[in-house]
């Protein structure tokens, strides 16, 4: 592998790693929040807005 190809590979590899980490963090956050909200709703906790058929957040 030529030294310049090594620089290109490093740049693309680190960029891929950074983007995969970002997407993974957002998806993990999504899953955690979804489970926590579902657990609270299963226990009968409802926001007042939802109780009024969701006119606001």
């Amino acid at each position: 592998m030529s030294p310049h190809l090594l620089y290109v590979t490093a740049a693309y590899g680190l960029s891929l790693a950074g983007l995969v980490a970002l997407v993974g963090w957002i998806l993990l956050d999504h899953r955690t929040l979804k489970r926590s909200l579902a657990a609270l709703e299963a226990r009968g906790v409802r926001r007042r807005a939802d109780a009024r058929h969701g006119s606001d957040a």
């Binding site: 490093a10 980490a21 970002l22 999504h30 979804k34 807005a49 957040a57």
Partner: protein
């Protein structure tokens, strides 16, 4: 799951987080799919494009470094507009947009610094130099980290939103400094070669892959921002429901 079925009749309806969630649920798979397709086309074009006669194969780093740098500034500009939305119009989604964009902007800025450094070593002979362009982008990275810390430091969402909005607007002064740093000061970094008076100085065989990659990363940014905003709205709902549950538990104990 919390309700997401309120109909959207006009753009103004998106001010309602519930309606925004309904739109985001529908839009995210489409936008993410578009990002994957455009980036795949862009990558294919980038690796089939000719090598630069001076830089050789290292010119391929341009196809990721330049979009990362553009998005670093675009994301901050979006955050500054969101800050105006918080301070002037008190738009309910403005603070959500600002808070959700900050980590994404920090990653794109970090990647612009890393890929720029890797490109600089073979071309300039050094990984880093404290010149105007590199230093101002590094300051942008630190500002992103500061805003991320600030938005998570205060328990009161209203106070956190106002503080983050003010800091973001003050920090916006750095964006024109980054853009014009290569004209105002001596720097190792090359001057603007795409968005400039007189047109691009890059040969079309290198310019087109760059533009397609920039479009792909911009669409990816939109998808990630929508996903992060949806998470932030859910996080606020979760906090509200946990408080409601705590109050109910307290009233039962009394």
């Amino acid at each position: 799951m919390s309700q997401t079925s309120v109909p959207i009749r006009s753009v103004a309806d998106l001010a309602n987080p519930t309606r925004f969630l309904a739109l985001a649920d529908r839009a995210i798979p489409i936008v993410a799919g578009m990002a994957a397709v455009v980036l795949a086309i862009g990558l294919s074009m980038s690796f089939r494009a000719p090598e630069d006669f001076q830089q050789g194969i290292t010119v391929r780093i341009m196809y990721i470094h330049v979009p990362f740098a553009w998005l670093a500034m675009l994301c901050y500009t979006l955050m500054a507009l969101s800050a105006l939305g918080t301070l002037v119009w008190r738009h309910p989604l403005a603070d959500v947009a600002l808070k959700a964009a900050a980590p994404i902007g920090a990653v794109f800025t970090g990647l612009a610094l890393i890929t720029g450094s890797i490109w600089g070593k073979p071309m300039w002979g050094t990984w880093w130099v404290w010149d105007a362009r590199l230093t101002s982008v590094f300051v942008l990275f630190l500002m992103y980290l500061g805003i991320i810390a600030l938005t998570r430091a205060l328990d009161d969402p209203g106070r956190a939103a106002r503080a983050a909005a003010v800091i973001t607007l003050v920090g916006f002064i750095n964006i024109p400094i980054i853009k014009f740093s290569v004209d105002w000061w001596n720097t190792l970094h090359q001057p603007a070669s795409v968005f400039r008076l007189g047109g691009p100085t890059i040969h079309p065989s290198l310019l087109w892959p760059l533009l397609v990659m920039a479009l792909g990363f911009t669409v990816l940014f939109v998808a990630l921002h929508l996903m992060a905003m949806r998470n932030e709205i859910w996080r606020r709902r979760l906090t509200a429901m946990q408080r409601l549950q705590a109050r109910r538990a307290e009233s039962r104990a009394d």
